[in-house]
Amino acid sequence: MKVLVPVKRVLDYNIKARANAEGSAVELSGLKMSMNPFDEIAVEAALRLKEAGHAAEIIAVSCGVTACQETLRTAMALGADRSILVQTDMELEPLAVAKLLRQLILREQPGLVICGKQAIDDDSNQTGQMLAALLGWAQATFASRLDFTPGASRVEVTREIDGGLETLSVALPAVITTDLRLNEPRYATLPNIMKAKKKPLETLTPQALGVDVTPRLQLLRVAEPPPRKGGVLVSDVAQLVDKLKNEVKVI
C-alpha cells in the first residue's frame, strides 16, 4: 500500500503572526517557515506504518510556492520516499488543495492519506475531510491511535472527540487526520538530510492537473484583536478573593 501525506509550509509555531501595515494580509516575508506540526505527526504515522510492514511507499505532497520544496525535503529527510510539489503562487483555499490532492490520488492510487487535522496558520481544519468527500472515501479525523491488521480491508482509528475518545472501524482507502497525541515525531538525522537531497521531487502545476484554484473567499481585512488591558499583581490570596468578590463580582 502507498501512503500519501500532504504537508504544508507554515509560519513557525514559535513566531507571533502580525498583519502587514495595510491590514490586507499576514506579514510573512523574512520569517522562519516550518512544516505544519500536525503534518510532522502525519509523516511520523506513515513512517511507522512502513516500518511495521503495512506501507510500501510514502509520498509527500505540498501545494504552494516554490519554497515548499524545503518542506518536502524535510519530509523526505524524515523518511518519505519521494515527493510532489504542486507549484503555484496563488493563495490556496482548502477546497482547492483538496481538489489538487484528488487529482494526484487518482494518479497514484494510495491506500491511505494521512493529513494534519489543521494547519496552524489558518486553523481551518477542512482539507482532509474535503478530500475524503471528493473521493467518496471514509474519513477519520483527530486520530490519536491507529490499529492496522495485516491484509484487512478496514483500519481501527481512535479519535479525540469532545467528551472523550471514539473508536471507528474505517473502510480502506481512507483519509485520516492527525491529532497531537498520535505520536511524537522523530528528528531528521544529518545523513538522512543528505540522502533526502537525492530523492525524487516532481513539480506539477494546477493547470497540468486541470484544477481551477480560483479563491471563493475574499480577504477584506487582517487585524490584531482588541488587546486585553493589562492586569495587576495581587499580594496575597486574601486580596485576590476580595477583588473577585467586590471588584469584578465573579464569585
Binding site: P94, Q126, G164
Partner: protein
C-alpha cells in the same frame, strides 16, 4: 432571502448547549431559521429544539444510519437538503468540525471555519494564527457553510418558541465507517465549554496526583469545570478532552483560573476571551501574567490550598 439551516449537536437524548450559541449567530444573520435534528431515537431532542426561540421549523430525520453522528452519512444528508438554504451553520466543536468540510466539498463551496463575528450576510470574522490575528472574509459562494465558535456568541434561551416539526427522509448507510468503541469522561462538573468558572492546570502541577489533590477541591468550591494545558494532558495528568487551546477547546467563562500554566500562545488561543483571568505562577515573567486581570506570584502548592480555604 436569507434561509438558514442550523445543524443541531446532540447525543440522541440531549440537545448540546453549543446549538443555542449557533442559533444566536443565525439570528445575527437575520432571516428564516430551520433546525435539523438528525439521529436515531432522538424524540426528546426534537422536543427541546422545537421550544427554542426564533426557530421557524424543526426538521427531524430519524434513521439508524444517523445514530452515531458519523461524518459520511450526515454530510450526505445535509447535502440533500442544502439547495433550499443560503446558509448552513454548525458549531465549531469536534462534532461540527468533523463533517462540515465534507458537506462543503459535496456542494463545491468554501467553508468558513470558527467564526466569532457576523459582519453581514456573506461576511464573517474568524481568528487565524492561534487567535493572534482576526481575518474578515467575504464569501462569493451561493451557499455559505459556516462553523460558529460557541463561546463567541451568547446562547439563546432554552424555551420561548413553538416551532412545527417536519419529518424528512434519512439517507442509506454509506457503510464507510462505524463505531466500535466510545469512552466518555463522566463528570458531575459543568461542561468545560459551558461552565461559568474554569479551573485549569498546567505542567507546574507536576503530577496527576497533585492535579487532583489541589484543583478538585478548588473546582468544587467554585462549581467550576476543570481544564488543562497541552503539557498537562501530554504528561497524563488528565485526559485529552480537558485540553484548552488552539487545538483543544475554546472557552470564555466569567472566570478562568490558570494554575501552573506558562501562557504559551497556543494555550492563550483557547481562553483569552474569558471575562476575568486569574493566574497563579511562581515565575513573575510568565507570559500568562500578560493576559491575567489578577496575578498571584508564588508556589501553587501553598497558594491553591489557601485560595480554596479562603472561598
Amino acid at each position: 432571502m436569507t434561509q438558514i439551516l442550523v445543524i443541531a449537536e446532540h447525543d440522541n437524548l440531549h440537545l448540546k448547549a453549543a446549538t443555542r450559541h449557533v442559533l444566536s449567530a443565525a439570528q445575527a444573520l437575520g432571516g428564516a431559521i430551520h433546525v435539523l435534528i438528525a439521529g436515531f431515537g432522538c424524540e426528546s431532542v426534537v422536543a427541546s429544539a422545537s421550544q427554542l426561540p426564533g426557530v421557524e421549523q424543526v426538521l427531524h430525520c430519524e434513521e439508524a444510519s444517523l445514530a452515531e453522528g458519523g461524518a459520511e452519512n450526515l454530510a450526505q444528508l445535509v447535502a440533500t437538503l442544502a439547495a433550499e438554504y443560503t446558509h448552513i451553520l454548525a458549531p465549531a466543536t469536534a462534532f461540527g468540525k468533523n463533517w462540515t468540510p465534507r458537506l462543503a466539498a459535496l456542494l463545491d463551496v468554501a467553508q468558513i471555519s470558527d467564526i466569532i463575528r457576523v459582519d453581514g450576510p456573506d461576511t464573517f470574522t474568524r481568528p487565524i494564527y492561534a487567535g493572534s490575528l482576526w481575518a474578515t472574509l467575504r464569501s462569493s459562494d451561493p451557499i455559505k457553510v459556516v462553523t460558529v465558535r460557541p463561546s463567541a456568541f451568547e446562547a439563546v434561551p432554552e424555551t420561548g418558541g413553538a416551532a412545527p416539526v417536519l419529518q424528512r427522509p434519512g439517507v442509506p448507510d454509506s457503510r464507510l465507517t462505524h463505531r466500535t468503541g466510545l469512552t466518555l469522561t463522566h463528570s458531575s462538573r459543568p461542561e468545560l465549554e459551558a461552565a461559568r468558572v474554569v479551573v485549569s492546570g498546567g505542567r507546574g502541577l507536576g503530577s496527576a496526583e497533585n492535579y487532583q489533590a489541589l484543583l478538585e477541591p478548588l473546582a468544587d468550591k467554585l462549581n467550576a469545570a476543570l481544564g488543562a494545558s497541552r503539557a498537562a494532558v501530554d504528561s497524563g495528568y488528565v485526559s485529552n478532552d480537558y485540553q484548552v487551546g488552539q487545538t483543544g477547546k475554546i472557552v470564555a467563562p466569567d472566570l478562568y483560573l490558570a494554575i501552573g500554566i506558562s501562557g504559551a500562545i497556543q494555550h492563550l488561543a483557547g481562553m483569552k476571551s474569558s471575562r476575568v483571568i486569574v493566574a497563579i505562577n511562581k515565575d513573575p515573567d510568565a507570559p500568562i501574567f500578560g493576559v491575567a486581570d489578577y496575578g498571584l506570584v508564588g508556589d501553587l502548592h501553598t497558594l491553591v490550598p489557601a485560595l480554596t480555604a479562603a472561598l
